[in-house]
Symmetry: C2
Subunit: 553 residues, 2 copies
Amino acid sequence: MAEIVAEVRQGAYYDSVVLMQLQRALAALPGVIDAGVVMATPVNLELLAASRLRPDVQAGPDDLLLVVQADSESKGREALSQVDALLSRRRAAATSTFLPKSLESAARTLPEAKWVLISVPGRFAGGVAREALRLGKSVFLYSDNVPLEEEISLKRAALEQGLLVMGPDCGTAIVGGIGFGFANRVRRGAIGLVGASGTGLQAVTSTIHTLGGGISQALGTGSHDLSAEVGGISARQALDVLRRDPETSVVVLISKPPDPSVAGPLLAAAQGCGKPVVVDLIGLASGTPRLGNLHFATSLEETARLAVDLAKAPSIPKNAAPEVRGYLRALFSGGTLASETLLVLQDVLHPIATNVPLRAGQRLDDPLHSRGHTVLDLGADEFTLGRLHPMIDNDLRVRRLRQEAADPETGLILLDVVLGQGAHPDPASELAPPIAEVVASGHPVIVVLIGTDEDPQEMASQLERFQSAGGLVFTRLGAALDEIMRRFVPPAQALPAQIPLELFKETPAAINVGLESFYDSMLAQGASAVHVDWRPPAGGDERLMGILAKMKT
Amino acid sequence: MAEIVAEVRQGAYYDSVVLMQLQRALAALPGVIDAGVVMATPVNLELLAASRLRPDVQAGPDDLLLVVQADSESKGREALSQVDALLSRRRAAATSTFLPKSLESAARTLPEAKWVLISVPGRFAGGVAREALRLGKSVFLYSDNVPLEEEISLKRAALEQGLLVMGPDCGTAIVGGIGFGFANRVRRGAIGLVGASGTGLQAVTSTIHTLGGGISQALGTGSHDLSAEVGGISARQALDVLRRDPETSVVVLISKPPDPSVAGPLLAAAQGCGKPVVVDLIGLASGTPRLGNLHFATSLEETARLAVDLAKAPSIPKNAAPEVRGYLRALFSGGTLASETLLVLQDVLHPIATNVPLRAGQRLDDPLHSRGHTVLDLGADEFTLGRLHPMIDNDLRVRRLRQEAADPETGLILLDVVLGQGAHPDPASELAPPIAEVVASGHPVIVVLIGTDEDPQEMASQLERFQSAGGLVFTRLGAALDEIMRRFVPPAQALPAQIPLELFKETPAAINVGLESFYDSMLAQGASAVHVDWRPPAGGDERLMGILAKMKT
């Protein structure tokens, strides 16, 4: 009958590759059926249980747990007795070449290395990254489980120094043709990527390659970068790099939906980059395929396809439209048009107030007075109690048009006119005169005209009369919103220090701290690298680590 | 100096068109600068204030408020003194032809009318609709501000009777070529629409027409139909009509995002309709352009364009893939791939449990054991504490594959394999054997293989080995998810009573109750219609109305 034999080593540190290899070596020993070698975290204990490997011993998250399921107890004990021999064999292999023991000595060994790749356990990673920044190196931080405050402090420091911190929890990057961490081999080309999503970047770079396109740089930011707390520091630095990089003609931005407070500045930076940007905020509906130089994709595959198409014929969007100061005021009679407008603009004209909110915080307290950028559905229930719908009765909109024109904060006015059976027989007769007044007072007015050539109001004549009044008339909402975005020019965002483009030139050199396989990968790709024989400070003892850290500062 | 003169008429009922026309007539009188004629709701009082027309009088929401701003008080009084004359002139015009006073007599006048169009104020609309259903008529219910309980009770009654209630708050419909309410004139054709969005339907039908396509039916549901409370009753009835309608070859479904409890059955009904369905859930990201017969659009314009393209060459998707019983179990190493999978499937395989939720209620309590349809990111933080990432170490996935295969609830297993630098040097060597075991045990396994032809693992060889193990291998996630949806066949949804297609045949006849302009519109389109000279029951007195309602039942 199968027996389970276990051993606990308190507070022992081994890196995960060593543990995996030890587990495999144990499982391959004679008489052993299965083995588990893990740090005894709650999840790992449950995983052992699911594999019928959970021993009846006490062990905590800092303890190494060695478990063997064997034909007999004696076979199990015999296997465990070989653990030290197996570990020392591994160590001998690792130390067969000289390895620096510290970042500082590694930097002396390979002075041209401008990057440090860090994949040590999360609780140690912040300290290593801080040391790297102190040495003036940029960081690829693969480690996860790094506290958010530590991420913020590292990124702020890097931002001031003109360095980049990709991560924590950054799985992939391609810098100057060399993959960091997990990265697919792809041809070099004109598409530069920024991503808060590791496999997202991998899937898109792979598909770009398969479709015949190529990659200039693929810069990961780590999965927490676009949180409100971190504020997208790395993403904005990376966008700035791709804006300046002469090899990049098309930019791709991939992430899960950012915090709304971060999305605005991020998309503004994307608008300001002067190159076509394919945006895939996975899980966020965009409501439009294109807005100025921003091209919105709904899947990783479409992202890759769009980028490859744009790289073939990159058209830098003209910016001929006169810039508008002040706020957008949109006065809709159609609820769905109001919603789609809000959907499209809410992240690029942030914040927007409305009486038909899509998100918390958008509700306009007083729908009778606009505040900042405002999108109104004047056909909403609160406006139609004891009053006709604005598609029949233009009175409310005529008065509101004049009210907005008199507001010094108003920049541009958008309104819809919906033709058809049942609607007002001649909306231009009532709306065109106040539009002419508003235009004369200096505010552009954009009209979205919805209807057909068979509608009783005569669409062509309506269109012509709104144009004569000075309105800019569109028959598609998307085109109107695109025009609006060409007029609201986002404010320039200066970074405290620019990252030198030299950091991204061909075949960068790097110092690796953590998983040896990432070092091997650098060498396999023809890059120069040095691997640090890293051990946790103070043997991983948290109290001692704290004392050491204090002594350094 | 301008003076404001006002009059309050307590509890008076006039329809909104009468009020608008009275306001215009007053404003046109000599010496009058501006006028307001409104029911004195709080919003209307504030709107008067914004136009400097708010008088210093007491009036409530059931009172009619007449306000005149004139050159002098006497001119104002003179204007108000003409109100009754202006109203009686209007009434005389309206009664110049004989009009039935009740729905019942209107039904006798025009027995072929199968529809009743209702646009009386919301608090009266439910009663009129109930009467219409009692007479066996379907209802187009334009009125808003109808209580939700009333909507539910009306729609449930209609569902049992095989009748349709479009609305409340339904602005538009096109039935048998005739527009109800607000509707654009469009050519007849093969595209049938269902929409919980009025201007959405108008914008899409107009664009379809402009692009050269045509409309079979456009059925509104009202804006509350897809709430959890109403449960999409009208939308599912409408989809069932378009499924059976021989003139409809392509279906369009437009709405704001439905409640998740409604989206599942609704999209299942759309899948079951056997025709291509273009879906635009405005504001909801789909994550894929296509899933079986469902085509996802991100804007109203794209919706129209897709529908027109599909109508030119409607391809009914093959259903050759063998049907799967049981649940999906997706075991990802790539977090973004897990998220995109969840995004695409969450409304069609509802509910889905996961450790990387996109919505409330999706969290899997115990990530070590799947529950129903399950999507797992095995590279999430909780799985990588003291353990290598599953892109390097396949142990966790191999064990989980076997665990899922042993679960009698498992139907189909999906996993990703991400190649590239830094990843496992030969994932097929470890994953293909357990995949072969799982396939042999009767569960299909779908593999999404991400990589390039230059990756060190040799993509072609990896692909071939996963295929040899019996896996279905895709190199694009979207294609894999599409395959999955062809295998999970949604359960058929029977309605208690089918709506006869006769209701939608060419040029329907209708009874109109409420806005006269909707009656005029029916006649202008060449349809037969009769207008009811409706007055609120008991003169609008709520207490008396309650007594009358009780006497009827």
